[in-house]
Symmetry: D2
Subunit: 275 residues, 4 copies
């Protein structure tokens, strides 16, 4: 049995934590890729529909959604290249009875890891649609912030594009015509070389999308998910974290154990102790 | 900026954590209440269905489910009594445009709290179907384990019924004919008096269900969700935690921010530091 | 028992029928209103996923959709005005346990009725976006075609807008910016005075939509569904019928008996005998 | 243009029709196979949720369901044997982008055909669970009723099991433990030899199911769907037709044009003219 007061984690919790929510709210009509089933939530039963004799009543929901909508994590099952998944498994044979038992999102361990926010706009480099964030950008952020990226870290790359999430024009954030900023192949190799555990961004596809190009080519997905086995987290809310200048933190994320799924909606958190 | 090494939380993380997964896996055909839309996950696209010119291919999922299936948390919007939600809001008027903006699951803050497992079978008290776990049982567990329950804690009550989750007879765990063990009204008041923040159990409805009674009366839901404003977590996996004898831990849970929803599937964790 | 050869319907069938399909195909990505859950169809199981010992294998689908997507019929439950449904029922009280038992689509009898196509563009009147088809237009079509509209008929009004259904720009058919042609309040009263049973059109909302106005005002829905109790059929495929010049026919339609629903996807047919 | 009064079909319609509904209502909780996604219908929007300035309000639905639930038709894409679909196509290669473009339910033409009800219990042969309806039974019904079955007909086989559809025990109709009556391999060959276009029954799987055997072997599906290319219609409502003794009629059925789907919910009708 754990003795109260000895557990350093519980002691840290008691010392006070500040929790930053890195998830976007999920609501009908939110910006999302048309490649995935849209988020819908309805109430099959509302209060008053059926009241028990003792005065009790329950309301409940039905959810319909893709696993790559809202803030979500990509499992290794999500992307293949030349017919192979990460580790060399045949992508078609890896699917058994309608799921990916060996590469699904249920295989991702809950994360309690050092997190680093690399805040590119803070460097004075605005990231317009289609801008490719380079290794030089990443390294400048690292050094300016004094937050070197190391093995096992979770790295969150802020382009500032997240400011469009709430735009009344729901297509603005998707950026089909404008493109979307993000890292490209070079940035992906940089992350892979650092040995990060997972990487996230404030955009819908994590990596740079060229204007008018859509998802026709996703080299960073290939490098990270297929070659390096690094998980991707998309559509993150990074504005608050950037506004308060928190660049290093404990990153906490626990995907839903959707057996065999290619991804999961998640609620990632950045947590700071000693508050 | 947070300086590396100063943050006691990050220091605890670096010191090593043991993470116990308290969520059941989500899979088609899993035991769940027929009152809620069943869990379904399918792959609209599999690898090989559409391969881009560069050799890349993506697979993705569609999810359909209720928010009270699998391991999940009940928001205050879930239950009303005599037409009122917790805090006295009119339950029908609280629904706006198909959701509960003030009482929905999106209003539940992520939890990093002291967690206590009250392991009833360990006391030599097996909990058969329909058994009501009493305040005396709860207090005996508290004292035997040296884990007093206090304000703000998250209390998990293990009846041992979770062993039926994997029964090939998917109705066994639901226990319609046998009843299901759990606390009743008295146990609910005991938790409310202790001022706990949330309470969970290894059963489908958290509280005791009488044999053949189904969900016809749910007094603990009324006391906890409506009267006391205490969240409930159902269908938890508590067997591993019990097997290793961990009774006190940091409880971590972050519901999906499903705007206006009455509940959310979750992946709760029990975490122990200094491992 | 019916004696073969005596039944005039069966005799007509044996004499040969020409069947015109008035339904649009249902496919993922088809044009539809964002007000309704999008059509999705996936295969939870494909051939080869699970092969029985005897060599047999089954594939199956999951559907997710609104009931007002694709070619569909509006039940009287769909629209209310000043809180009342057709016949004066209170629209909120008419909903019981999440459905409309008295006004739902299950109350619509299958139709075998005289159908009339009023082909407006054939009159030399192209119908651009936002064009209001007037009673004068309807009467000119009636007389030119020698197809007077009478009580109990089903009237299909072709604006020609259906040609945009297959436009690669999926928003073209919706016509948000351009508006969509159709009848307005005056045309609706004209149909109601003729005593038609149901009315359909080749557009997404049956009636005229003003440029940039969306569904902010739907007077023909009010007149027909609420005041007159006339069913509406939307997103019909009328191009083939117009091309071959068939203006009078047997109209056949059988909604799915979705208990309590506000509408149903349908496959309406125009059938001509003696072919 | 068709001249009014000449069309024999329209003349038959005007002469009066009696329409028998052969579809079961679709409602949440109805009996259905657990192999398929369950039917759910909810109202994302109810009257009063959002009222426009002019007093108008719309309610709408979300549907979730398999295509083999409720009264439905099986397309040729549904079943394969030894890796082949009807006509010899490779069942795995026949699936393209998540659907069956060549064998899907959208390829089934709307049916206006002679229909024959073969009413087995009327012969004094009750059909208990697991009873196999033999070719001799079918021929006795044919001759007793004076309704010979011929090429292109649609044959509906009534076992009487449909009386269990409304049983409060929703598993009764499924008949897992009791078995379900129906034709077997011999009956299937009999239908194939007669050259029927489609065949239906009042049970969930069309063919006989042995007690406790479930769907482990479905020889009639193989013979009809794979070998003979004959469509199957399941979970039909045949009680009313039998009660009034109508054994020959015009059978009308139009599947939803669900592109690439393995089946479709349908509302089949038996229609008699000259009423």
């Amino acid at each position: 049995m754990t003795i109260t007061g000895i557990d350093p984690l519980l002691a840290a919790v008691r010392g006070g934590l500040t929790v930053y929510d890195l998830a976007r709210p999920l609501f009908v009509g939110m910006p999302q890729s048309p490649n995935h089933p849209a988020y819908w939530r309805t109430l099959p039963r509302r209060h008053g529909d059926r009241v028990r004799g003792d005065g009790g009543s329950a309301a409940n929901d039905m959810l319909v959604m893709g696993t790559h909508v809202g803030t979500h994590i990509d499992a290794l099952a999500h992307v293949s290249h030349d017919g192979l998944l990460h580790g060399g498994a045949d992508a078609q044979l890896a699917c058994r009875e309608g799921g990916y038992p060996d590469h699904g999102v249920h295989t991702i361990e809950p994360m309690f890891r050092r997190g680093v926010l690399l805040d590119i706009p803070r460097l004075g480099r605005p990231c317009p649609g289609g801008y490719e964030i380079t290794p030089a950008d990443l390294e400048l952020a690292e050094s300016t912030q004094s937050t070197p990226v190391g093995p096992g870290d979770v790295v969150l790359i802020r382009s500032g594009w997240g400011r469009h999430f709430d735009d009344p024009d729901r297509t603005r954030y998707l950026g089909h015509d404008t493109g979307v900023p993000g890292i490209g192949e070079a940035g992906a190799y940089w992350l892979a070389e650092r040995g990060v555990h997972a990487a996230g961004a404030d955009t819908i596809a994590f990596e740079r999308l060229g204007p008018g190009r859509g998802h026709s080519s996703l080299p960073a997905h290939r490098v990270l998910l297929v070659e390096a086995g690094i998980y991707l987290i998309e559509t993150m809310a990074l504005e608050e974290l950037a506004a308060v200048g928190v660049h290093e933190f404990t990153f906490v994320l626990a995907p839903l154990p959707l057996h065999g799924a290619t991804g999961s909606p998640v609620r990632p958190l950045a947590v700071v102790g000693g508050a």
